[in-house]
Assembly symmetry: C2
Homo-oligomer: 331 residues x 2
Amino acid sequence: MANTTVKSFEIPNFAFENGAVIPSAKLCYLDINPSASKTALVITCFRGRLQSTLNFADGALKDHRVIVVALFGNGESSSPSNAEGFPESLRYMDCVRAQKELLTSHLGLQSVDVVVGFSMGGQCTYHWSVMYPEFVRNAVIICSSARTSKHNYQFLEGPKAALENAVDFVDKSLATSSGPSRGVCAFGKAYSAWLTSAEWFDEEQYKSLGYETLEDWDTDISSKGYTGWSAEDLLIMLRMWQAGDISTAVPSNDKSLESALSSIKARVLLMPCQTDQYFRPDPNEREARSIPSATVEVIPSIWGHIAGGGANPADTKWMDAKISAFLKAAS
Amino acid sequence: MANTTVKSFEIPNFAFENGAVIPSAKLCYLDINPSASKTALVITCFRGRLQSTLNFADGALKDHRVIVVALFGNGESSSPSNAEGFPESLRYMDCVRAQKELLTSHLGLQSVDVVVGFSMGGQCTYHWSVMYPEFVRNAVIICSSARTSKHNYQFLEGPKAALENAVDFVDKSLATSSGPSRGVCAFGKAYSAWLTSAEWFDEEQYKSLGYETLEDWDTDISSKGYTGWSAEDLLIMLRMWQAGDISTAVPSNDKSLESALSSIKARVLLMPCQTDQYFRPDPNEREARSIPSATVEVIPSIWGHIAGGGANPADTKWMDAKISAFLKAAS
């Protein structure tokens, strides 16, 4: 993945869906290969930073200008942790409207050839496709969904409760200055078993990542891995995820999911992972039936959800080939 | 299910696996239909009480004397919440040895026709079958495993961390006197999405239980449903579950799981549920290959793990028929 400088773009007096207005909303982004004629927008995922986001710039998108943009709340773009007076709640529509400003007003684009997103990035891509159907020619939605399922919603209640009831979240004076708080680590623990799959644990695949024991893996995944993450940022993104639903983003009287899906003009590639425990293939298969032009390619992997984020090189290669073929068929 | 009086049996100077000895260990149990000639032992599950344990006494076990016994740590039998000086850790071997005392010394039995257990009760049944192979003629193991999988272990780390880091667990003086603590409710939240299945949530099956919304269901499942449960009891049982492994219960030099499974003399019926998110059918299929006489019957249900505990009447009827047929084939 290309490593480029983080740029930023400020939008004055940005109004959020919940009514709050902040004097300046900042979007952080990477602009990779800016002279290419085709354009791709890649959106970060939950707990994703710009530089570690899988962007396919060296593969399927090598002939694209690749703009990687950080979701509000990720700690790079405006977030509770870095913007005073940041609103209490966020919606994907906020992120999409700001990103549209970046692409049009700042970068002078009239459309993008492809929007790519994994997980929350995929949900944001879905929201793009219904909010600005003329702007998005192709959408690649990886391990994600058009509407957060009730199962996914309920799973997220776990890490949320672990954090919100933690001793050093309730009493902030107890938080240590170094390393993640007890609350954030409890969040990480309650999240950890969902990340991959039961088969992945059976096969002790954490060893393929260099961990000798499950406990070693857990220490990184549930604790150290959260270094630098603010509790408030995690929570506002989590609630945005829970509220994810493209039918609420459509300016129509018919608020059904099917109606929202049928309004999409982009060619859509849905890539769920076979063993993803929360963004599952079944809902993608159902969604595809209502999208005018949709293809579903199921990642054949035991890496579960994080296969889609680039956790396993073989899966990344597989996805890259599928995206290449999908984009080639468009031209 | 028959409703009978809770009886109890005290074992003086009971020595636990971890070396602790308590002056008196109490086992609570039900003795249903005590004049029947055949005998069944039914063991409670995690967070299970005697009177609400599915016991098949009106169905597959109607011609059996059904002895339902509470695991140590469940709050009825000796537990951190009711026994001063209770050990810091428990193993299934402790429960099995005490239950054997109950059945032999107190009830005068030389063997049991069938041991039945769901979930942790199923793991305890597995331990019975390897610790006293001559004592158990048939074993019915529902939504369980011979060894807690690493995935299952890691999932349990979530509720555990939610509880152990909670403000009113760390500082007990903050606990309210009525209702479950914040820590126990956070535990419940982190557990809740695992109970059933993604398909169950998709179909909004909580409505079939009389809940109008997911939130209504959640309130009962994650909070009210824990009324009367002690944090310490939940934690000691959870750790016993995490340590569940029949290969550690066999008095042999060969500590492999296969070797332990092959030592079982009972006819075994394994009944995993198709959609169980943590006690899955695959490991049961693998286990069955090493057990001299095993049958696997997969519960065809979207109720996930709790199908095996009697959450859905249709599944209970299905299991009852399978147990009847299994026991009939034995005689």
